[in-house]
Amino acid sequence: MVTSITSFGRSGLYDWMVQRVTAVVLLAYTIFMIGYLLFNSDMDYMQWKSLFECTSMRIFSLLALLSMAAHAWIGLWSVSTDYIKPTGIRFVVQSGCGLLTFIYVVWGIQILWGV
């Protein structure tokens, strides 16, 4: 067994499962958004605002946001372990990705609840 302390859930199976489940959530969110925009082509700002004021939409959006964060982290972690061989540089890049992901999550929550 290869030990790894920087992967999302330590277990390969866990990371694999999280990446697939989050992909399904992101697909569902994308289809919903495209469908909503197609069926409401004459939408104005008030309708857009009321959509995101709805609690169920906030839950769905937050779920998509957290899914994106987990999905992106697992993906970028894989890419960085493939291509960046010096441990120090890899750790700095991974820390940067982690920090950026955290900022996006906090920022996303602020936007969602700031509507």
Binding site: M1, V2, T3, S4, S7, R10, S11, G12, L13, D15, W16, M17, W77, S78, T81, D82, Y83
Partner: protein, 234 residues
């Protein structure tokens, strides 16, 4: 025809280079790449390559022919030559010892990791451990692997992480023992594979399937290992 061969002798060359050799095939026959290598060696005796059984059983002469891995002894020129030109390189991703000969240590280390032998902690029967025909059938498509390394060295995941990712050949063998009804170490074997690298670095691009000279399917075996891990963990 023109043959471009990868040449490198660490004792005399500073860096590897490609040697272009024009050669006429006697009688214009569709010979195997290994026969062509013998013709080249007759011209230049310093050329180094491995070969043994010359019939696709020993797995010694795995090499990269016009960009695709395969066994030189069972690959006819008509299968690989394009525009009367053939480029021969050693298997990619492994250190070159000389010319077309690679150091397979890393490949064998990964093979060793998966414990390629039956583990059974129950008392041995007086004669032998029997299998039903159905149980034996489970090993078809797995036991035929000859460890030529064509698949593993065609896999980018192995190129990037040869020390961590077991590789298609090792994983095909891992499943060969997981699928064996006589083996009792399934749980321990699976526990050894559940990390982000050993199995899960496979992204299913199927280079292994496209190059296997025995027509085996390591991607399918990896999928079955993954399913076993899921079933055990959920």
């Amino acid at each position: 025809m023109l043959v471009s061969v990868y040449r490198y002798n660490p004792e005399t060359d500073d860096a590897p280079y490609m040697q272009d050799i024009h050669i006429d095939i006697p009688g214009g026959k569709d010979i195997m790449v290994l026969d062509l290598l013998q013709l080249l060696k007759d011209k230049d005796t310093s050329l180094g390559y491995r070969r043994s059984c010359r019939e696709g059983v020993c797995g010694s002469d795995g090499m990269n022919m016009n960009g695709k891995n395969g066994l030189a002894c069972v690959t006819a020129l008509s299968q690989v030559v394009v525009d009367d030109k053939l480029v021969l390189r050693p298997l990619p991703g492994l250190p070159v010892i000389r010319d077309l000969v690679v150091d397979m240590s890393q490949f064998y280390k990964q093979y060793e990791k998966i414990k390629p032998f039956l583990i059974n902690d129950t008392p041995a029967p007086p004669m032998e451990r029997l299998q039903s025909p159905e149980e034996r059938e489970e090993l078809d498509g797995l036991y035929e692997c000859i460890l030529c390394a064509c698949c593993t060295t065609a896999c980018p995941s192995f190129w990037w992480n040869p020390d961590k990712f077991v590789g298609p050949s090792g994983l095909l063998q891992a499943y060969r023992f997981l699928a064996d009804s006589r083996d009792t170490a399934t749980r321990e074997r699976l526990a050894e594979l559940d990390d982000p690298f050993s199995v899960f670095r496979c992204h299913g691009i199927m280079n292994c399937v496209s190059v296997c000279p025995k027509g085996l399917n390591p991607t399918k075996a990896i999928g079955k290992i993954r399913n076993m891990l899921i079933q055990q963990a959920t």
